[in-house]
Symmetry: C2
Subunit: 572 residues, 2 copies
Amino acid sequence: MMSSKPSYPSEGTDSRILRGYCGSESSAVRPKLYLGPGPVPRRYLAEDKCSVAEAIPKQPPQRDVNGMGPIGKQGVNSDQGKCVPPPSVNVPANTQSWLMRKDVWAVQTSIHATNRKLDGTVDGMDTGTSSCLTYKWRVGISQDGLYNKKEGAPIGGWANWDFHLSFDMRAGPIISLASIYDLEKQIFRPVLYKGFVSELFVPYMDLDEEWYYRTFFDAGEYGFGLCAVSLEPMRDCPENAVFMDAYVVGQNGKPVKMSQIFCIFERHAGDIMWRHTETAIPRTIVREARPEVSLVVRMVSTVGNYDYIIDWEFKQSGSIIATVGLTGLLEVRGSKYTHKDQIEEEVYGTLLAQNTIGVNHDHFLIYHLDLDVDGDSNSFVKSNLKTTQVPDHGSPRKSYWRVVSETAKTESDAKIKLGSKATELLVVNPNKMTKMGNHVGYRLIPKSGAGSLLSDDDYSQTRAAFTKYNVWVTPYNKSEKWAGGLYVDQSRGDDTLATWSKRNREIENKDIVVWYTLGFHHAPYQEDFPLMPTLSSGFELRPANFFESNPVLKVKPPQDVMRLNCSILKVV
Amino acid sequence: MMSSKPSYPSEGTDSRILRGYCGSESSAVRPKLYLGPGPVPRRYLAEDKCSVAEAIPKQPPQRDVNGMGPIGKQGVNSDQGKCVPPPSVNVPANTQSWLMRKDVWAVQTSIHATNRKLDGTVDGMDTGTSSCLTYKWRVGISQDGLYNKKEGAPIGGWANWDFHLSFDMRAGPIISLASIYDLEKQIFRPVLYKGFVSELFVPYMDLDEEWYYRTFFDAGEYGFGLCAVSLEPMRDCPENAVFMDAYVVGQNGKPVKMSQIFCIFERHAGDIMWRHTETAIPRTIVREARPEVSLVVRMVSTVGNYDYIIDWEFKQSGSIIATVGLTGLLEVRGSKYTHKDQIEEEVYGTLLAQNTIGVNHDHFLIYHLDLDVDGDSNSFVKSNLKTTQVPDHGSPRKSYWRVVSETAKTESDAKIKLGSKATELLVVNPNKMTKMGNHVGYRLIPKSGAGSLLSDDDYSQTRAAFTKYNVWVTPYNKSEKWAGGLYVDQSRGDDTLATWSKRNREIENKDIVVWYTLGFHHAPYQEDFPLMPTLSSGFELRPANFFESNPVLKVKPPQDVMRLNCSILKVV
């Protein structure tokens, strides 16, 4: 059924295109220069070169000297500084050389570096002319055989689900070959050939000299998987979690183990899978209820300041729920202000604490969802709910809505900005029907529909054009994995989902990929400082005429064995 | 601080205006006739009169005789039938009399009556002329003193929250006087004076003679609280739940106990309250993570076929999350069709099984949210995120977004249809500021923004005009509790949130009420039959500059005591 595709993941991530930040190992390996459509890739100063040998001013530059608050007043010396390569994607793409920047952070004033950025400390070198230094931040070159490249690690059958999980330096977790057991047909039926976070885009909204270029592509630049962190039992994951390690290629070509990168657990959240009390039968009450038990696969990627909690949840009812939880540290900037009333200029954010501005920004994540609903030939259907007026005297009703379904023929039919329009989004298999004659399908149910507010000609937006629509559908193409392009740094935006889609290829009854962009606009509030309580969004893939009827109706009720009661609740 | 308002709930629900369906006790009490602005209220046939004495056809009427499938082929006799009063709100309001309908269901063919509706079985009497029979379905007349009318039942302090919970026959759970402890200020600060489900609107989209009028107002017609059902330990609520009973007034004026109507439990869902791993410090990894533990108050209301799971969740971070889970039985209709290919006419729904159509419909719930953010004088603020173009040469950036906040002066400024516009919705206290000078506030974060698709002149829509906007804000008014009007049945829609708001009253720096409508459009899928796996939506009230900083930063990590491991997970 899947013979037309390579067995996953034969491509693998070329680690040379990640510029590192979260690299777990370092050595001086000189990467191959990329000479593709964009300008030359960024080169990175070695950490030790930056933080030890370079002159970091004891005091921030004059124009911010009143604005540094506790940091500015202390000043820093070179032992307290740390160099971090900033993003470069807001540089005009036709600039073949630009100033290499280093942001300097005062690490000794806080354990959390990004809370203590020293504004006004910029140094530079011209990447077009200068010679290269070392490449400590750069991760090594990938080699074959480091981790199971065929199909990821198979997760043993859980309830009615079967799927594989693998780790990718760029994407993080990859769910593949997810299929669900059909009790009636007595077979596993495919749902999701491959699902992963293809790219993140985190543009900041500060035009200042030291901030305008902060528009991060966390997967393509840093490696969303490479930035994964070890999970802590009982805190990051519940008591019943099991943990899995991941392996990446070090710069010397040897495998590097990353410990406890995934946790997998059954979720017993106290929710109800389904229930009904029948009260309409005289003198009889019939009640049936089933608690929800699902399986969660979790990874946390800490890309500098932010922690992204990436959950893939499998429900016995057939739903796959992808959730992104945002927590971690706000990226703040120093400021001279200590009260909002002092502010008369545009500060691009919220005064969160004395001398501390939380800068406005967005988080966009685009998921690559290669659905294979009961086979690999699928179509994308928009079911629009249309208000229909009833002719006079046709009925006491004046109006109703009906479902007007539209199968997307080509890519342009499937570009969707979510909003007020009432539309259900489906991936159906036009070659498979239920006994009743409905096309077998899955729905995509979004939880929020934010899209980029940047203008199309903004440099970073050119590269992040995938954020202009929440939904895109493309025919499967082996080379189209990374929505921001294979090489993101300083690219011209000519190898992105938006450019691939311009060909407007046919997508009806084909092996298609749905791309879903979810977003958070983040105008910071004081509660987000210094560390933000988790804010979540996501989407659900829910069976829609995939089964003949409710697939969990026969789930047995749990045994009434009380576990330890941990409640501290008191009801007066 | 709250002296301007009556102590809750001095009004109480006048049970005479509920027409019953879920009544827990019955006797022949003749209700007072309501002679208000609408036509005369509906009168109801006694259940025994209907199901025993009346002639229920052995076979469905001729026009559906081929369409009844298993039911139609069996036929029913009078012992198998059951009478249920249908809704009347789709009758033109100026019709002073109309045919009294009874829907007949075959109860012996299924334990779930609404799965086996016998279409084509309509009987009637003219309410304008005929004499009344008995009123068995009608609940009794309320009297004082039945339950604590002052402030509901106080829930003992849980974590940093304090709130009261009470039960109302019409609304179900009412959360009141919710306040949160501020560790820095060392006081409890008010957040939510009162929150409850004010009305539900469930219009079906079938124009057929026996279906066009099915547009239910589940609170105002049936009593959302009156339809609450007993919760089952370990299935409806987790092992650590505690249960509370509720009391209603029976028709004979005596109290009637409803057992285990609320459950209250700590939720340990495996989520993360906040976390961060600091990876940017050379040779040091700092990690802190806190698991999320919240408190959930749950009630389930089974209004005929559907079960609504109503959760109020309190997070230690200050968020209040309201969630509605939809499960229970689809309301289906008989049909002659056994395969989709046979269908050539409009059937208003999906063929779910042989001879069974799941009719398209909506579920709208409107919440009355009387927020008192740090006091009762509040304002409603729309923070619009506006794209701003950067002048040429002003910056290498071309655009950014900024927050343009707009305080709603009058009610018309606060009517909002959620959609693609990037707007944050806040209730702020303009008289209270943080140390940084930000107005103290709470955000309303919607999860979905569906609104009614019916035309404004449709009879039911006139009464359910509150579904035209997702957000409304009104000044507090003691008499404005029920968004569909105090008397919903056959009302003319002249006592609804939409009519109150036409006065366009001032709402700035006043005691205001936010009304939030959430909705589900439901075009049924086969998985929803016969019983639908839970589908959820809701909203979050989240502190926004209410605290000076993250209020849960000092929450201690849990003790590392392993509870019983119930995982059945195997990782290969």
